[in-house]
Amino acid sequence: MGNLVWHEYSRYVSLTASVYTVWASFWGLFYRKFFWDFIGGTLRNPGGLQPSPNAAIFITLIVKVPVIQIFTMMTAFFMIALEFPMPQLKQTMIHRSIVLRIVMLVLMAFMAILFYQGTNGALWSLIAAGCYARAQVLGETMEDAKNNKGKGGRA
């Protein structure tokens, strides 16, 4: 019993994950830390964990310049715009695409897992992506897609 519409549920998870990720990447701008720096890193007192030289590229992209954080934040903002949805996106094909969401969420999770604050957001994004994958497997379609049926190019 019960008829859970998975993509409608996933939307709430995805929105929560995206909002968290925006918040996390915002703090990531000020407290920059490569999440995986403990691998091969050495602990200094004081000074903290000194990452291994192998991770130099991540140190550049996360600690020296917060590129990853900024990209993650942009992705998360895009997800919010897509999910809420922003009026301009509402009638478009990308708003109706479940696959796009899965891809974006996995991408967001991949980027978020790279910096210190992003782990929960990454985990939640993966859960959202999983729920969307379930919706996709069940062959669910977005409401707008149903409404736009037969409208040809005007949809």
Binding site: G2, N3, E8, P46, L49, N120
Partner: protein, 599 residues
């Protein structure tokens, strides 16, 4: 009645479990076939001993008026008081937690972390408070007992609403607390105030592990509790919400890692609570927050095994439809009735499945609608016909009727009606169900001549569409017909839907000069549009004060007016402007906010 009591409905006779030795019969009716979506079916369990469950009323101040957010939150004294007290407590706790951390000399090392640690400690204290409060509105049995005494203190009547407010606060403070800790731990790593890295605190110590785990549980619980999800699939919400058990375990053990300490290493000891309070200087809030948890657990156990008295709604479980779900419904029969009945509107997945199971599914409704269109049902109904005839459902020889388990009744006293001279009963939509019970009860009391001090009943029913009138038509007709004094019961029915031209003509043609109203088939006329509450109350007040309302009552005498509102929607607030002197205003918000979802 008892949870776990099986009313095995077999045809029109059944049996209860022998330990209670009550005979029961089951009776299923389908009412109002006119719209396929809005039909209600009527399930009554005839018990040979109706073991006086007293219909009871809730008392809170609310109104159906739509108001601005600002007006609702700040200009209504009760709500203003709630906001000031509730958020005041939280801000106070935050400030106290901040202050107690910042000024504690023993924690000087931690205070090197500055704002982030003060924030996390302040928010932590608020979260402990919220974690304790979140279960309080769920203590249904205790609330039933303490409600009359404590209604002024906290919104006991809107327990689900309060539960949500706690949850919202909790989400906010969890955000503050977690954010602050992310800063704390990164600074611990950088300054090495403790010899560890941030991820060790996050993922290898009790505080971090339980914290992240609680956040994950919150994600799942909050998202599945969205009203849309509850409507779609109550089970997803119901089962996921039981993660609260693990959440609570996480809450109680969150501080067992001895994070707040004045020693270098956590000072663990071999005896309970396994850390020393000499060096572990947390709030030890589990000593307080654990009690609502234990009480709640106790209540669940108690409800599993023990018996109830008085109440006005009950939980129903139909194992055929769903093995574990319990759903609340308002009892619509009077205590004097030899049966217990509920009216169930099919709105969510559970109610639809239940309708389907007992044979009141869409196919039956379609057949009935067709018959109604052909006019074949009108034959022996006299000149006016009757809307909402009961249709007995033949569930195939009876053997296939489902087992129905009931739990309850729950609720508060409706006997209050008889302590007032004037009772104003206001129901909207299916929110009228409690009044079915009350009106019937009044009718029985009239027959017995024991109306207490009740002199007047004003019954308002605000409904969107005409077919809904079928739900209680026969009841209202009966009650109306039984009135010797035409002024005792006034039935005011409001139809709020936009009326089509056809319907308008129909009403115009049939209404003029007819003895009965064409829509409700009552003597009382249907009114159209929404009721003007201000006007209604004002008129009533003037009539009471000038002594015209109750003949023989002096204007100087105190007239006690009880207002009860049964309401369909979650939003209902009492507008203080409508308060008039000498009135005890009770209102009752029934529906989702009260019981957590009909689905």
């Amino acid at each position: 009645m008892n949870r776990g009591l099986d009313v095995e409905a077999v045809g029109c006779h059944g049996r209860l479990k022998p330990r209670l030795s009550l005979a029961s019969t089951c009776h299923l009716s389908l009412i109002s076939p006119s719209t396929a979506s809005g039909y209600v079916f009527f399930l009554s369990l005839y018990l040979s001993s109706p073991s006086a469950y007293n219909i009871t009323l809730k008392v809170i101040e609310r109104s159906i008026m739509g108001e601005s957010w600002f007006h609702r939150e700040f200009l209504v004294p009760r709500r203003l008081a709630f906001n000031v007290i509730w958020y005041g407590i939280q801000l106070f706790l935050f400030a106290y937690g901040w202050w107690s951390q910042a000024t504690n000399q023993k924690l000087a090392a931690l205070n090197g972390l500055k704002f982030s640690v003060w924030c996390s400690r302040g928010a932590g204290l608020v979260l402990a408070f919220d974690g304790g409060m979140i279960l309080v509105p769920m203590l249904r049995n205790i609330i039933r007992v303490v409600r009359p005494k404590l209604a002024w203190l906290f919104p006991a009547d809107e327990n689900i609403w309060f539960h949500r407010q706690v949850a919202y606060s909790m989400a906010f403070w969890a955000m503050v607390h977690t954010t602050a800790h992310y800063v704390n731990f990164i600074n611990v790593e950088r300054t090495q105030v403790r010899q560890e890295i941030a991820l060790q605190i996050h993922y290898t110590q009790a505080g971090g592990i339980t914290g992240h785990f609680m956040l994950l549980i919150m994600l799942l619980m909050y998202t599945t509790a969205h009203h849309k999800i509850r409507n779609q699939c109550f089970e997803a919400f119901w089962y996921t919400h039981h993660l609260a058990f693990f959440f609570m375990i996480g809450l109680y053990t969150h501080a067992t890692g001895c994070f707040v300490r004045d020693s270098v290493d956590p000072d663990y000891i071999p005896t309970f609570p396994f850390y020393s309070t000499e060096h572990c200087l947390g709030y030890e809030s589990w000593r307080f927050t654990i009690w609502p948890g234990l009480l709640y657990f106790g209540e669940r156990m108690y409800r599993e095994y023990r018996k109830y008295t008085a109440g006005q709604w009950l939980f129903i479980q139909v194992p055929d439809v769903s093995r574990f779900q319990w759903h609340p419904f308002t009892i619509t029969s009077a205590p004097e009735d030899p049966y217990v009945s509920v009216h169930i509107r099919q709105v969510g997945d559970f109610t639809h499945a239940l309708g389907e199971r007992v044979g009141a599914g869409p196919a039956v409704v379609a057949a009935m609608t067709k018959a109604a269109m052909n006019g074949s049902e009108k034959e022996d109904n006299g000149i006016y016909g009757t809307r909402g005839d009961f249709v007995e459902l033949d569930a195939g020889g009876g053997a296939s009727l489902p087992t129905v388990r009931i739990d309850g009744p729950f609720g508060a006293p409706a006997e209050d009606v008889f302590n007032c001279e004037v009772a104003v009963l206001i129901g909207a939509g299916i929110g009228v169900t409690p009044f079915a019970s009350i009106l019937k009860h009044i009718w029985y009391r009239q027959q017995k001549g024991s109306l207490g001090c009740l002199r007047r009943v004003e019954f308002f029913w605000v409904c969107r569409d005409a077919p809904s009138f079928g739900w209680f038509q026969s009841l209202l007709q009966e009650v109306e017909a039984a009135q010797a004094d035409p002024n005792f019961l006034r039935i005011n029915v409001y139809l709020t839907q936009k009326i089509s031209e056809d319907m308008l003509w129909n009403i115009a043609v049939n209404d003029a000069g007819a003895e009965y109203d064409p829509l409700t088939l009552l003597r009382s006329r249907t009114m159209f549009g929404r009721p003007d509450w201000k006007g209604i109350y004002k008129t009533m007040r003037q009539a009471i004060e000038s002594g015209q309302y109750l003949p023989g009552s002096n204007a100087q005498l105190k007239t006690k007016v009880g207002v009860n509102i049964g309401h369909l929607d979650m939003f209902c607030t009492w507008n203080a402007n409508h308060r008039f002197t000498d009135l005890f205003l009770w209102t009752w918000c029934l529906g989702q906010s009260h019981k957590g979802g009909y689905s």
